[in-house]
């Protein structure tokens, strides 16, 4: 009881700690979520009912926040064109297009620049105090240029050194706000005045500007226009169909999903890759489980001396950092100075041959994965009461019969969810391929999918390689991959006894 009060008090303290920044930022939706989460915790633990919820709630809260929410966000991304060039809003895109097209106006005015403020040097709104070549002083702010009367300023060396009502930033203060100063622009009729250094500013002009009347971007030098296309989130030239690289984020509906099935560069090698993907995932699970179980069975006897030493040594691969060992395995299969070729006096280009590469990848996977299977099999074997096997022995069953009819079925009840999870993990085992073969060897000519490519490495290259990140498209593919894995797992669940366990 005291423990319960203490824990609920801790929850209240954490909720309060979390609430203050939200209140300060006036993030009311966030505060509502926090309040709802806290209230549900209090409800579950203070009510005498809902006993299962008392045990499930802590893990479930983490699950929702850091697993389900990211997955939902990813799925939501799949119906947008989110990616390089389509990250922000339309307004962001217009600003970006105009800023990148800024050039110095030919014959534009050069000013002597002094950065000042009307408020505190560290935080007050910036103004530019400018002196033109004729010696006239101006003050420039976000609204434009205003002439300063000559009696209110002191000009020295072509720059303002004192101005009534303004505090001039010294070098250190200006340095601290250099980012702001670089971005600061004083709008003029032709463009904007921006700083070109600590003491110079010049008038510059955007060659491309947004025209609200035609909802388009106009190039002021050539007269070309790109009209906003809300469906694709880009500015398109109606004459040529050419798009500006900078666009904005829009909902594209099921276009990404349709592209996976209709784009020939994606559907072409899809089925061959899918087949090998299954081969790799099933092969990895079966090989690692077979070897892991064999070792667990062999050491599951008190008559084996030094079996703890065996266990520690067998499990060692699992203790090594797996991504590092994948890179080491790649080097061991190296044709010229790889360990495998040197040990067996071979000169085989393992990663150059499709089946050699596949065998090599599976061998590395076996080495990395079988200690895990060894561990879980050992754990599960110890949970099986020895009476069952002993009873079968009394009834005259051979060792193989005892294993086949008693031990293995019981093991599979406990382990089949793990085997299915291992299948799902290996189906998307990005590192195992990416860090070793990189998907290769690639067939000559069109090199979109290699012999060892999994769907996920193949997708990765399509979505993130080449022409830039396409998160929306990648998310759509990951939804497909998820569906495939989920369906296969559901079928294998039905075929194993795991379901009976769940129903019972």
């Amino acid at each position: 009881m005291a423990g319960k009060i203490l824990l609920l008090g801790l929850v209240a303290a954490i909720a309060l700690w979390g609430a203050f920044p939200l209140i300060a930022a006036r993030a009311w939706p966030g505060l509502a979520v926090l309040a709802a989460a806290t209230a549900s915790i209090y409800y579950v633990y203070l009510s005498p009912r809902h006993v299962p919820a008392k045990y499930l709630l802590p893990g479930t809260l983490f699950l929702i926040a850091f697993q389900i929410l990211p997955v939902l966000l990813t799925v939501a991304t799949a119906v947008t064109n989110f990616g390089d060039g389509h990250r922000g809003s339309k307004q962001d895109a217009i600003v970006a297009i105009q800023t990148t097209s800024i050039v110095e106006v030919a014959g534009g005015t050069e000013y002597g620049l002094t950065v000042a403020t009307k408020g505190e040097p560290a935080s007050g709104p910036l103004v530019f105090l400018l002196v033109d070549p004729a010696g006239n002083a101006f003050v420039g702010d976000a609204d434009g240029l205003t002439r300063l009367p000559a009696d209110q300023v002191t000009i020295s060396g072509g720059r303002v050194t004192r101005a009534a009502g303004y505090t001039i930033l010294n070098l250190a203060q200006a340095g601290a706000r250099s980012q702001e100063i670089t971005e600061f622009a004083v709008p003029t009729a032709a463009g904007a005045i921006r700083s070109t250094g600590v003491s110079r500013a010049s008038e510059r002009q955007a060659t491309r500007r947004y025209d609200a009347s035609c909802d388009c971007i106009v190039d002021t030098t050539t007269g070309r226009r790109w009209v906003a296309d809300e469906a694709s989130g880009s500015f398109v030239d109606p004459a040529t169909g050419e798009r500006l690289a900078q666009g904005w984020r829009v909902t594209v509906g099921l276009a990404n999903f349709a592209r996976v099935v209709t784009d020939p560069s994606i559907t072409g090698p899809f089925f061959r890759t899918l087949l090998w993907n299954f081969g790799f995932a099933i092969g990895s699970v079966l090989l690692t489980f077979a070897l892991g179980l064999l070792c667990a069975l062999a050491l599951h006897s008190t008559r084996v001396r030094a079996r703890n030493l065996y266990r520690v040594l067998i499990v060692l691969p699992y203790a090594m950092p797996s991504f590092a060992m994948l890179l080491v395995w790649r080097d061991m299969f190296n044709t010229d100075f790889g360990l495998i070729n040197r040990l067996f006096s071979l000169h085989v280009d393992w990663f150059g041959d499709p089946w050699g590469a596949r065998a090599a990848v599976l061998l590395a996977q076996l080495w990395l994965g079988y200690p895990y299977m060894f561990l879980v099999s050992t754990g599960a074997l110890q949970a099986i009461p020895a009476e069952l096997s002993e009873a079968a022995e009394v009834d005259g069953a051979s060792a193989w019969q005892r294993f086949r009819a008693v031990t293995l079925p019981l093991l599979l009840v406990a382990l089949s969810p793990l085997l299915i999870a291992s299948f799902a993990f290996n189906f998307n085992n990005f590192n195992a391929i990416y860090l070793t073969t990189g998907g290769g060897p690639f067939p000559p000519g069109r090199s979109v999918a290699g012999a060892t490519d999994l769907l996920i490495t193949y997708t990765y290259r399509l979505a993130f390689g080449g022409s830039g990140a396409e998160f929306g498209f990648a998310a759509a593919v990951s939804v497909y991959i998820f569906l495939i894995v989920a369906v296969v797992s559901a079928i294998s669940f039905r075929r194993t006894r795991a379901f009976e366990e769940v129903y019972s």
Binding site: P21, G59, T77, R303, P317, L375
Partner: protein, 281 residues
């Protein structure tokens, strides 16, 4: 003698073969770590020259100690918290019958089948927001990364524990309930001590997967001093593969030490068959 071979000898045969298979790449890594030249193409299968040069270089040129401390902190706390959360859930899934139990169990497996690395973009956006409000659990902090890892606490591990718990006779906790114990007392006094072997195994599994986790940590920890071992080591060979190979292997070997130590520590729990004792006694 024949009897010894069929009953015990083959076990040693399998054990020795497995040990040889397990060890040979590790010996190669050891050989590279001890190789004074420290390059990939000068490394032999077994150590020929022995020098600590790579280790010294690693400690001198990289903030290896802070990587190490970060990794131990993150992996230790994550595995403790994940085992606790998972055990709570496994207890109700194994012992109680309630609405949504089946759906709950199956969705735990299903959620983990989503290709996580594609959710990295979403996770990045989530933690950018979190970091704005609560910098203490934002990017480059171990706490935020631990919270992220705990999102995966329920899942395969819960299944593993539930499977183990299903084999513990229900009579044990039922008799305690008859004697007037509450569900919380049954859980703490009876269930947890009985399943300590599986707690140890799952704790070890989580510890290992956390200390080796690379994808999320690489996005999360960008400050040189806040990195974990896997992120730091990857940075070593990212550009300079051949030349830093020795240092990289030295680091990999040192990375394995905590795991081996933890394994030693929980070994007796894994081996002791507590359930058997409970049923027999």
């Amino acid at each position: 003698m024949k009897r010894w071979i069929t009953q015990v000898g083959w076990r040693h045969g399998v054990g020795l073969a497995a040990v040889a298979f397990s060890l040979f790449p590790i010996v190669f890594v050891l050989s590279a770590a001890l190789n004074p030249l420290g390059t990939l193409n000068s490394t032999h299968a077994v150590p020929t020259d022995v020098s600590a040069e790579n280790f010294v270089k690693l400690l001198r040129t990289q903030p290896f100690e802070s990587w190490y401390a970060n990794s131990i902190l993150i992996a230790g706390l994550t595995s403790f918290a994940a085992v606790s959360l998972s055990m709570l859930a496994a207890y109700v899934f194994s012992r109680m019958r309630f609405h949504g139990r089946r759906v709950g169990l199956l969705s735990l497996l299903l959620i983990q089948m989503f290709p996580q690395f594609l959710a990295v973009v979403a996770i990045f956006l989530i933690f950018t927001t979190i970091g704005e409000y609560w910098p203490a659990i934002g990017f480059n902090t171990p706490w935020g990364l631990i919270l992220l890892y705990l999102g995966g606490a329920l899942g395969v591990n819960t299944w593993l524990m539930k499977g183990f718990l299903d084999t513990v006779p229900k009579e044990l906790d039922e008799s305690a309930t008859m004697d007037g114990a509450t569900h919380a007392q049954v859980f703490i006094r009876i269930i947890v001590p009985l399943v300590s072997p599986i707690l140890a195994v799952v704790g070890l599994l989580v510890f290992i997967s956390t200390i080796n986790e690379f994808l999320m940590a690489n996005v999360f920890l960008t400050d040189l001093d806040s990195k974990t071992l896997s992120v730091g080591l990857y940075g070593l060979i990212y550009g300079e593969r051949n030349n830093n190979f020795g240092i990289f292997c030295a680091g990999s070997l040192l990375t394995a030490i905590p795991t081996v130590v933890v394994f030693q520590f929980v070994q007796r729990y894994i081996v002791s068959g507590l359930t058997l004792g409970a049923v027999k006694g």
